[in-house]
């Protein structure tokens, strides 16, 4: 087990290395660079020498391989370089937004899981009844509703009833917990609905499968209480695919909320990414893409660890 884990952890390094190479190439293919965008697009006249000087200052005149080596050599020290737009260190800029995105992701997950598990279990246990139908309709609708549109509707509701507008700045949890939660609960709800729909469907279908197993029939035959059968015997075995879905959705929320963050005026990772693309901020785009891929790979690793804990039969020898 320990050997397998170290092996898996070490394997992440070459994977991330390949990811980094692909990202670097991808970003250089984006047409137009930041210098043109910042100096020329304003319509003002700039001499070629000024443009060249600016490119030299940002290191854009160096050969591509040199830029690549510069970037890669910083990575082991978590040095992602400096933003071409704000000149602040990328790691610092990302850290500022990361706490917002992480908190939003955790809150949405909590909302989704508290909704999805009971609903999914109830639908599976009462298959074919009205409970099942209502849950199915709710989750099919949840998959079809764009989160950002739900966000706009929530805004409309809050504006009309409480004259609430999304605050312009983010209040961290430890500065003012109440203001912080009030700010993030609405986007968390908008995102959480879709998230819970995905999870509910998975819980329902995994439970349906497990409830047909022989050991569940044996449990019934032994005369165990329904609660015990459903929770201890069935749910635990149905959790593997559910945990996978929750993990993957969680990874998606870090950085994937590009649109919902826009609606609620939140300065998260997703908004930073959209801004970075609009500004051709190469170093920032690189850093963010690498972050998103790393989160995904790490979450996948954690899911695998959870498998072992959930199902003792799974062992990575």
């Amino acid at each position: 087990m320990a050997r397998y884990l170290t092996h898996r952890l070490l394997l992440m390094i070459p994977t991330l290395l390949v990811v980094a190479v692909i990202i670097f190439v991808l970003v250089r293919v984006i047409p137009g660079d930041i210098v043109e965008l910042r100096l020329v697009s304003g319509g003002s006249f700039v001499t070629a020498s000024v443009i060249e000087a600016e490119r030299a200052r940002l290191g854009l005149n160096k050969p591509i391989w040199r830029q690549f080596v510069d970037w890669m050599s910083g990575l082991p020290r978590f040095d992602l370089g400096t933003s071409m737009w704000t000149a602040a260190p990328i790691a610092k800029e990302i850290a500022l937004r990361f706490q917002l995105s992480l908190q939003l992701a955790i809150m949405s997950t909590l909302i989704a899981v508290t909704l999805a598990l009971p609903l999914g279990i109830a639908a599976a246990v009462r298959r074919g009844t009205w409970v099942d139908h209502v849950v199915q309709i709710l989750s099919v609708a949840g998959l079809a509703t764009p989160s950002f549109w739900l966000g706009i509707l929530l805004l409309l509701f809050l504006l009309s009833n409480f004259h609430w507008l999304p605050p312009l700045t983010f209040t961290p949890l430890w500065v003012n917990p109440k203001a912080n939660l009030l700010q993030l609960i609405w986007p968390a709800l908008a995102v959480g609905y879709r998230y819970s729909a995905v999870t509910t469907r998975m819980t329902r279908s995994a439970m349906l499968e497990v409830l047909q197993e022989d050991y569940v029939r044996t449990a019934w035959a032994k005369g165990l209480a329904q609660r015990v059968i459903v929770i201890r015997h069935a749910l635990r075995n149905a959790m593997l695919p559910v945990v996978t879905v929750i993990g993957l959705e969680f990874a998606f929320l870090i950085g994937g909320l590009v649109v919902t963050e826009q609606v609620f005026n939140l300065n998260g990772i997703g908004k930073l990414f959209v801004d970075a693309i609009a500004r051709r901020d190469y170093t920032m785009i690189q850093g963010l893409l690498l972050l998103v891929a790393t989160v995904y790979i790490v979450v996948n690793f954690l899911i695998e660890l959870l498998y072992v804990w959930l199902d003792p039969r799974v062992s990575y020898g």
Binding site: V18, P146, I152, L153, R201, V259
Partner: protein
């Protein structure tokens, strides 16, 4: 009806009987396609015509869905927006599923290093959320309807490739593929004549599953200003800017395009679910 279609007709009749919801969704999609196709006849107004005399008009007899910040008729724009949504949805998922399917079959057939490289690339592409991948591709290609289709299609490719490859792996081991190889058939003949037709089920299932996703992605990217360009009527574009800014004054600007998206995606998802259950229940997710 000619005899050749008999099997398909029987299949369709059974599908309608066993999956009435899926059949209803299919009819809804046909209806939507008709609405989109006939938009130029059905739309009461020119979707692009500004009329500053009737800005923010509430829904009523003259404008059923109200008007927007430029006095444009929201109903007409929703109808024309259906064209954009369906065009992008169908084109992107068709292109994405086809490329993904062919690559998946090829990877399974050739195996070895080819397969290994393709799988590693697919794994890496999958480690980015679809929307991030699509955004990055749009940034490279530039915005606009055609580039948007390409970006969405490309970001679907690895996801579809993985599923089709898994099915193709078992097809590769069948006796008929072995027989084809034994009589000296060429690679491309085995791939296209023998393997591709036998992975149509997962191909179709993935295609319909991604149709709704493509429409959601189109709306999201257009909302960000990185998809369809103004003034082309598109649901995502209609939701951005003024619709959010004036949501209290003119809620119909935000409500109707959003309903259109939800309804369309819902229809595609329901049809997709039924089709999956009918064609290949193993793909249940």
């Amino acid at each position: 009806m000619p005899r050749v279609y008999r099997r398909q007709r029987i299949w369709l009749a059974r599908f309608v009987r066993r999956y009435p919801l899926g059949a209803a969704a299919g009819i809804a999609i046909l209806g939507l396609t008709a609405l989109a196709g006939l938009a130029n006849q059905l739309a009461p107004y020119d979707p692009l015509a500004n009329d500053f005399g009737t800005m923010f008009a509430a829904p009523g007899a003259r404008h059923w869905f109200g008007t927007d910040a430029f006095g444009r008729d929201v109903l007409s724009r929703v109808l024309y927006g259906a064209r954009t949504a369906l065009l992008v949805g169908f084109a992107a998922s068709l292109v994405g599923a086809t490329i993904g399917g062919i690559v998946g079959v090829a990877a399974a057939y050739f195996g070895g290093t080819t397969d290994l490289i393709i799988q590693r690339l697919a794994d890496i592409m999958i480690s980015f959320p679809i929307i991030i991948l699509a955004l990055a591709i749009v940034a490279i290609l530039g915005s606009g309807t055609f580039n948007l289709i390409a970006a969405i299609a490309l970001s679907f490719v690895p996801r579809i490739e993985l599923v089709v490859r898994a099915s193709a792996l078992s097809v590769r081991e069948t006796t008929y593929v072995e027989a084809a190889r034994a009589i000296g058939a060429r690679h491309w003949r085995i791939v296209f004549r023998h393997m591709v037709p036998n992975v149509t089920a997962p191909y179709l299932v993935m295609l319909t599953a991604f149709l709704g996703q493509a429409i959601l992605l189109e709306a999201s990217l257009s909302f960000l200003g990185l998809g369809v360009n103004e003034p082309t009527p598109a649901w995502g574009l209609m939701l951005s800017g003024a619709a959010v800014e004036f949501v209290q004054r003119a809620p119909w600007m935000a409500v109707f395009p959003g309903l259109a998206i939800t309804f369309t995606v819902l229809a595609f998802n329901v049809l997709g679910d039924s089709l999956r259950d009918a064609l290949d229940p193993r793909l249940r997710t």
